[in-house]
Symmetry: C2
Subunit: 202 residues, 2 copies
DNA sequence: GTCTATAGCTGGATAGAC
DNA sequence: GTCTATCCAGCTATAGAC
């Protein structure tokens, strides 16, 4: 019996995933806030009421998109670093963030800019994004930075570079090429000096 | 005759301004992309067709809002600095940018985030914003920074702080309190060392 | 210029047959 | 679960009287 329920649940999840995939197609063309249920149904090859068999509302569709985006984000950011040296891993983390955001502008808008009136992601959908921020915290800790202000400065620096890149030079490298330089600037500023006494920052 | 035309033109501009003012009221409540001509007319105390006596389309209303916002931005950023010391003026410029953006979230969204599908500001509306960027360029030049990469890093740092502040702590000071620190970080990193020979950077 | 009235459409969401 | 058919609200924009 459990098998049957699993099977039905999997079918349902597959159908939901197909609709969400069509939704990403749609927002890629008409913009994030231009998503409409009718158009979505057409793209998914079904009819309007069928959408409501899988989602309770349009915002529920947005929420499923948010969840998927947040899971992708977590996966993207938690992949093992290619270089074990902490400083290089930090640069790689910043670059990964840039690349993830640039790869899909509507996804970036949904995840990081709050721009759809009336939509707030559910706690479940939000959770993976929170876990991904933990990655940044750990990366910074590995280079000796653990205070909250420095973490905030780090996120500001990263989102600023991404924001300018996407808004003003979506197909170039004008800001992404500054990334290495920006990380160096950040590290020089916030990293505790190599202390003479071993007990510092303990 | 010219007097009559001026008078009529002024009347027309006043009527347009009143509609734009009502539009700012509206977007403050329903969100930038939630603006509707009907609601706007109601708020302005007129009827729908009258809107079209002053604006050719909904995007034309957005364009007038953009122009006004860009003019306000230019005024806000070009006001004389309270402290003539270049470093202090730079910090003040950054703080002005933060305060201007925080003061009105929909205005920030319209001016700096491109989030309304199908709307692009006209060149006329955009011009004041470009002139305001010149202020940043001049401020940086006054502390000896004139390369394009540093200017880009400066804008990224500023927008990043603002973005995080608005998105994640709209009523607090979590990122705006980092501003002074961030400027110090930036200056240490990009400012040419005080050279022993006077001819450097000449 | 401003109104009433409405065209013409598209939106989210649902009823009920199958 | 999926469909046809549809409700009803909202939208942008316009026609035409005054």
């Amino acid at each position: 019996m459990s098998n049957l329920q699993d099977w039905k649940g999997a079918r349902r999840e597959a159908a939901r995933a197909a609709i969400v995939a069509a939704a990403w197609d749609a927002v890629g063309e008409v913009g994030l806030s231009g998503l409409s249920i009718r158009d979505l149904a057409k793209r998914a090859g079904i009819t309007t009421p069928t959408i409501y068999a899988y989602f309770s509302s349009k915002n529920d569709v947005y929420d499923a998109m948010f969840l998927q985006a947040a899971e992708d984000f977590e996966r993207h950011m938690t992949a093992p670093a290619s270089d074990p040296a902490p400083e290089r891993a930090l640069v790689e983390g910043a670059r990964r963030f840039m690349e993830f955001c640039r790869a899909d502008a509507p996804r970036y808008q949904l995840l990081f800019q709050r721009t759809i009136p009336g939509f707030e992601p559910s706690a479940d959908a939000y959770a993976p994004a929170v876990r991904a921020l933990e990655v940044a915290r750990n990366l910074l800790a590995s280079v000796g930075i653990s205070d909250a202000r420095s973490l905030d400065l780090w996120t500001a620096l990263n989102t600023g570079l991404v924001d300018q890149q996407i808004a003003n030079d979506p197909d170039g490298e004008r800001w992404s090429s500054l990334l290495e330089d920006a990380v160096a600037m950040f590290l020089t500023h916030v990293r505790p000096r190599r202390s003479t006494t071993r007990s510092r920052n303990r």
